[in-house]
């Protein structure tokens, strides 16, 4: 029976080709537009670490005077000062925690073997690799001892390793970062998530750093951060030492808290820490204020999904609703014109359910056709997005979820639009249409 | 009132030429009541369409009330239809979206008559056909006979001098058919010229003058009778 209905639908399409083309294009354009903005939304709002995003927390401290404002919704700066980062890193609380910031060096071998190039480099603590599940394909991260001794060691990504050493093993090799000679002790698998979730302060979708060095090198190498440095009060900062002691915010801090007890303990620790710091006279606040958002909340808080995209998604769904109203109107006309024919079918023994099923199959076919065409249009749209804004090249793509959602949304939308006309057709008393005409 | 001379109508399809009317001649005087009969496909409807200026003709001359119809523009024909001709169709052709009042009002609106006068005339016509109490009803809420009476009211609303009826009783049972016929006779007595196409020999016999069309030509003139008074049952009581 199902195939019979498909056959009937096909005949119906052929009988009114113009209206069919109109309806399929309407749904295709609706789906195309919606899927274009929704795909970007989907990629922007993706959870980068679904298995532990509720355990990883971004630590924010308000070490500013009461009344200082910042652009975040709760006036908390996204980064903390160097001194706080050191204190929190050393704190004796049950948590896996690490400071981290971005810097950069020219990478070279002090000879002509490769052309020197600039590379972004992350300065962080050993726990970073545990918190963010960094997988090593060769060697391992530096040890706690190496970090404590501020040894000149580095780990690099597989991609960078291939670029520097080809197929040879990178572990044990030496490489210059500017004038500093580093030893490679590990190679990690490339980060392959489009959101740079462990550092949202310098572009949410920037490329991931391909080299890491220990946080303890910050002082001996006088490492300057590449990224935002935010002050809130006037301080005369001239030397690197001044900067380390200053109230400028430039270090990110992450803590992994595995259970509610740890979370609770960490909250208490931060409260006490801020009270203690205030007593030292660094700032004046009525009550300690800090943030420990988990990763998902933090991505949202940082506006990883752009406002423009939210506006577009909302508008595309309204657009889709216009397409639906359009189709509904056309279906209404088309189905009602068919009432006499349905009357004959009913008289010949078709049940209401048969008639209903026939029409639902017909609208589903429309949805399927429109959905498939819509995917093609969305690909075109996403190509347009990538061309306009190369920064979105990783985002403006359809993954499998989106690819399957498109026809499903299209079919559901069409069925939704077709239900009322189909119901009207079924409701019609067959006797009436047989009598007239 | 109506003169047709050598009127022909040819329908041209890809391969076939169909002569629906050929060298058709007819004179109709003011106040006549003519029944047109003939077998299916003989050209009755084509004749009626041409008479009512619903269709153009291929050759010949057609004078309506002294006006040469062949030379008129589309708009002029529309106006002429509106002012001089009333139509009664076999399928009633009431407009389903409009209620009785609005249906009867349609030709008056095209004539650009003021709202108050329209109302008066519509009510008068509906009273004549005995449906004044149902002005708010939609056509589908009426029986076939009632619908045809509304259609007659609509045809009368413009006070036409010339009434064209196409199988006015074709969709009605015999009782209703008789009532409609009586109504038409009444209208004829009131002064309108009527041409009625019909299949029904009994109805045709009631008309004073009969024309038979066969193969696009007038086949046979029956005896011309002066219009005579026929006893009428209460028209409104139907």
């Amino acid at each position: 029976m199902f195939f019979h209905y498909i056959d009937l639908s096909w005949r119906s399409f052929k009988r009114t080709p113009l209206i069919t083309i109109l309806m399929v294009s309407a749904i295709a354009i609706g789906i195309g537009v919606t899927m274009t903005s929704l795909s970007v939304y989907h990629m922007m709002s993706m959870d980068p670490m679904p298995h532990k995003s509720d355990k990883v927390h971004a630590v924010q401290l308000n070490t500013r005077d009461e009344g200082s404002t910042w652009w975040t919704e709760d006036d908390l700066p996204q980064q903390i000062t160097y001194q706080d980062a050191v204190n929190l890193y050393r704190a004796n609380v049950p948590a896996v925690k690490t400071p981290s910031f971005r810097t950069g060096y020219s990478i070279h071998f002090d000879d002509d073997s490769i052309k020197p190039f600039i590379e972004n480099i992350r300065v962080t603590g050993l726990p970073f690799f545990e918190i963010f599940d960094v997988q090593f394909v060769e060697g391992q991260p530096w040890t706690q001892e190496q970090e404590d001794n501020a040894e000149m060691v580095t780990v690099i990504s597989r991609e960078l390793s291939e670029k520097l050493f080809g197929k040879e093993s990178a572990v044990g090799k030496q490489v210059y970062y500017d004038e500093h000679l580093f030893r490679v002790i590990g190679v990690f698998d490339n980060f392959n998530h489009h959101i740079k979730y462990y550092d949202l302060t310098n572009g949410h979708f920037n490329s991931h750093e391909r080299a890491f060095i220990p946080f303890s090198l910050t002082v001996p190498l006088e490492i300057n951060n590449w990224g935002n440095t935010n002050g809130w009060k006037y301080q005369d900062i001239r030397t690197f030492e001044d900067k380390l002691q200053s109230e400028q915010h430039w270090v990110q801090f992450w803590s992994q808290l595995d259970n509610p007890q740890e979370f609770q303990a960490y909250q208490e620790y931060l409260t006490n820490y801020l009270i203690e710091q205030e007593e030292k006279g660094r700032f004046e606040r009525e009550a300690p204020s800090f943030g420990t958002r988990d990763l998902t909340d933090y991505l949202d808080y940082m506006g990883v999904v752009t406002e423009d995209n939210r506006v577009l998604v909302a508008m595309s769904f309204m657009f889709l609703s216009v397409c639906l109203a359009n189709i509904l109107g056309l279906l209404l006309g088309k189905f009602l014109k068919r009432v006499p024919e349905v009357g004959v079918r009913r008289a010949l023994g078709a049940s209401k359910r048969d008639v209903f099923a026939q029409h639902v199959v017909e609208v589903s076919m429309l949805g399927l056709l429109g959905g498939l065409l819509g995917i093609a249009l969305a690909q075109l749209g996403l190509w347009g997005v990538r061309t306009t804004y190369s920064y979105y090249s990783e985002l403006a793509t359809m993954d499998l979820t989106m690819l399957f959602s498109a026809p499903i949304i299209a079919i559901s939308a069409c069925i939704l639009a077709g239900l009322f006309p189909a119901y009207l057709v079924c409701k019609t008393n067959p006797a009436i249409c047989l009598k007239t005409q | 009132m109506l003169q047709m001379k050598n009127i022909s109508k040819v329908y041209q399809t890809e391969k076939v030429q169909t002569h629906a009317l050929r060298d058709f001649d007819l004179n109709v005087d003011e106040g006549e009541f003519i029944a047109v009969t003939g077998p299916s496909g003989s050209g009755k409807t084509t004749f009626l369409n041409i008479a009512g200026m619903l269709e153009s003709f291929t050759a010949g001359q057609y004078m309506l009330d002294g006006v040469d119809v062949g030379s008129l523009s589309d708009n002029a024909r529309a106006d002429l239809r509106n002012q001089k001709i009333g139509f009664i169709f076999q399928g009633f052709n009431l407009i389903p979206d409009l209620n009785l009042f609005e249906n009867v009002e349609v030709p008056l609106r095209y004539r650009g008559i003021k709202s108050s006068e329209r109302k008066e005339r519509v009510m008068h016509c509906l009273e004549q056909v005995g449906l004044a109490s149902r002005i708010k009803h939609l056509p589908q809420q009426l029986s076939g006979g009632q619908q045809q009476r509304v259609a007659i009211a609509r045809a009368l609303a413009g006070e036409p001098r010339f009434l064209l009826a196409d199988e006015p009783t074709g969709n009605l049972d015999s009782l209703m058919a008789r009532q409609v016929m009586e109504l038409l006779e009444q209208i004829n007595r009131d002064g309108a010229t009527i041409i009625m196409v019909t299949h029904d020999p009994e109805l045709a016999r009631r008309a004073p003058r009969n024309i038979q069309i066969v193969d696009g030509q007038i086949a046979d003139f029956t005896l011309y009778q002066k219009p005579t008074a026929v006893p009428v049952a209460s028209v409104a009581g139907a």
Partner: protein, 406 residues
Amino acid sequence: MLEIKPIFNSLFRSKAGAILLVLQIAITLAIVSNSLSIIKDRMDYLQTDSGYSEQDLFQISTSVFAKDTDLLYLLEETERTLLGMNGVVNASFMREVPLSGSGSSSNFGNKPLDQNESEDYRSVNTAYTTTPASIFDTLDMTLIEGRFYTDSEVLKFNGDGGDLPTQVVVSKHYLDEIYPDGDGLGQFIYIGNSPIEIIGVVERAMGPWPKSNRPLNFAFFPIVDATGSQKFVVRTEPDMREQVMNEVEEVLLAQFNQRVIMNIQGLDDAKREYQASDILMLRMLVILIVLLVSITALGIFGMTVFNINKRTKQIGTRRALGARKSHIIRYFLVENSILCISGMVLGAIGAIYLGQMLFEHYSVPAFSAMYVVYTAIFVLIISLLSVLFPANRAANISPSIATRSV
């Protein structure tokens, strides 16, 4: 003669189709008018004049990795090398490059910090850069008051920071904000308690962030502090930029090769890259509007065709009863206008509501009712045009349809 009342009645009796069309028009109006408002806002932003002839300027960054280099000497030598290139008009070190999206900004007071309790204390944010005296020629700036600083007034350091500046050249926009009374020239702005004299005012200079809320606040300090990473802005003769940009890396490495040359980019391209997300939004909205209006027009077209097919007989009847062709066309135009206007009333309410929602939750401009008016006129025209064609077809229906019996 407009048959408004019967049309109304007839619409009311076939409500579903009419309601759908009204809704479509309403939503279309709401979306299009709001999109137009956003588009207008973005266009204004994208078209803001930076004050530079961007197409003749490009930036370049260098990063020195050699030990024990005299960075200040290298910096000045690099400037001289650039200047020696064929087609280069001028080249200057500039720590923060305009339009590039990366720079520095700070608040400066109109009084020393220790007087910040005073009533007329003002502190205004501006983007700033430290750069040699040649920059004013490189960027081809127009001086409107005072003077530019000279080479001998520039403080030079070799990566060791040091003294605060004592002079500054600011953009007119900044001057007007920190000294609104127009007497800013010769007055001071303060870093903490240290005074800096405003010696010159340029007409227009955009800072590194075109999108900031003060894009045209910019200040130039006479300091050159050479560190390992150095940026330069180069102005070329018209049509020579492409060639200079292609050759510049080789020329600079030939001069000194212990460094990485990167970010060779025209300022217009830098600006376009910075603004890419807004250009994207603009394009998306334009496409959205075009598609939406087409879909709605097609919808109106389709519905009219349907209505006409459904009413073939009644149109024939009307013609038989004396309707002129123009009456039939007018009938459909009036019917459509009634729907369109109801849709617009609903849509205007929707548009203003949507505008408010967007304004509350997102950083879009406040919605002006004028956009509803423009859009409504536009939608009305489009909708009448979409009706015209099928209505014309309807008018050509032969009145003889009326005598046909099925």
